[in-house]
Amino acid sequence: MARLVVLGGGVAGHTTATFAAKWLGSAHEVVVVTPNAKWNWIPSNIWVGVGQMTKDEVTFDLAGVYAKAGITYKQAKAVSLNPEGNTSSDKSFVTIEYTGQDKEGTSENIEYDYIVNATGPKLNFDATPGLGNGEGQMGDNTVSVCTADHAVHASHKLTEAIEKMKKGERQKFLVGTGHGMCTCQGAAFEYIFNIEHELRKAGVRDMADMKWISNESFLGDFGMGGLHMKVGGYVVSSKLFAESLFAERNVEWLIGAHTSKVEAGKVEYELLDGSKGEEEFDFAMLIPPFAGVGLKAYDKAGEDITGTVFAPNGFMKVDAKYDAGAYENWKASDWPRTYQNPTYSNMFAAGIAFAPPHIISKPMSSPNGTPINPTPPRTGMPSGIIGKAVAHSVCDLMTKGESAHLHEASMAEMGAACVASAGKGVFSGTAAAMTVYPVVPDFETYPGTGRDTDYTFGEIGLAGHWIKHILHFLFIYKAKLNPGWTLIPE
């Protein structure tokens, strides 16, 4: 019996573990190591953050689901990898530290035949002074919707702000990115328009000033270099549609901004032109930058090989082209296909945990040398597809031997469907429903826009809201491994 260890229980890790357990059956063991007791459908945190859903509606306990799937579940965080074993054994192992199951703080070494790193990101709040609390957690100056607990906190703060407006006190809302190297602009985009929608419902929209602050060089970049869509016989940039929505909903924007410092009621920022400024706020939701979770790696002799296994940002190196050089040399083929670590063939990474070869948007920096550009998004659909492909590869390696064919899922060859909520309501809600194909533009195959405009589209409306709401139930149903779960695509 061989053992697969999956680090992380988010979209990529959960997909990898559950498919591997299904395909391997009882012949091999699948172990999931995740510090969380609950699975969270993160896209719906937006609605928790405006009080339209509860934490319980977007989370469920993992233990029962993994027991049903025959997966060994360890509520713990991974600390280090020893892919060569140690001086007393050649067997690869991962060191974990429990965060639950009545073993908090206890360490354990788990030997593995294959390991998939799907830890997701570390929310690096402390990268911006004042955004974090100096201890790796979110500070008191802003709110976040990155976790369900953060979203509950944000909802309470929003309720307080609405109460103030009802009493005649004007409020300034600032939403966007908390650093020049953030990703996940889409979540902030959803949050600002959901706030705007809720303020209208509460009858206090005229008491609110709303502003978007982002590291994108243009509205609608979303970390993907924007996208072009066919609309009304034209092929149009997402910039035009994003600006249109902001203007329609009376939300001002500040783009090309690196948030350099956060204080109570005020942010300092630097723009792409090198100028610096300040923006005051009463309520701010700023997405933190992402980093790897800080896993270490050691060789057989105990020497630190973290730099061999992981990129400087803490994400795991895979089969990507990391020496592509300048922007002009970037190609779709730089992006990984199998997600296998180039040094240790029994290690893979999936979802946000893999190190991208470079960003997708055009790299930008201020005259002061401050990089201000979005880092690549890895949303649910690509993360799920990658997780499933990695599970397929590992299962084949375990059952057919080391010469088995590895399955491929390049982000430069897959599309993504994305639904960005702009307000919740069965008849009053709207959302931007979008698809891009492929996620990473391929200017060799699709000269001009980098994408196939027959399969890249977007529109805003109630239909998009219905789709997002249905997907909420559908993906939680799938993640709970209810009957027919494999029929629901990632």
């Binding site: 249109s244 203007a247 329609e248 009376n250 597809i385 599309g415 008849f427 009053s428 399969y455 789709i467």
Partner: protein
């Protein structure tokens, strides 16, 4: 004649340089019959993209 949908153009230079939907386009966004049709069409488009991506 006052047109509500055009008021925001004057609120900032950024706003004045983009497009803002008129009242008909806004109504169609939440028109249940039209949006049900769009729901079907968007789902078909998404299923095609999902199918090409797996």
């Amino acid at each position: 004649m006052k047109k509500e949908e055009e008021i925001n153009f004057q609120k900032s230079d950024d706003f004045s340089r983009t497009m803002i939907p008129g009242s008909f386009a806004r109504k169609m966004r939440t028109c249940v019959i039209w949006q049900f049709i769009r729901f079907v069409i968007i789902n078909i488009k998404m299923i095609i993209v999902v199918g090409k991506s797996h």
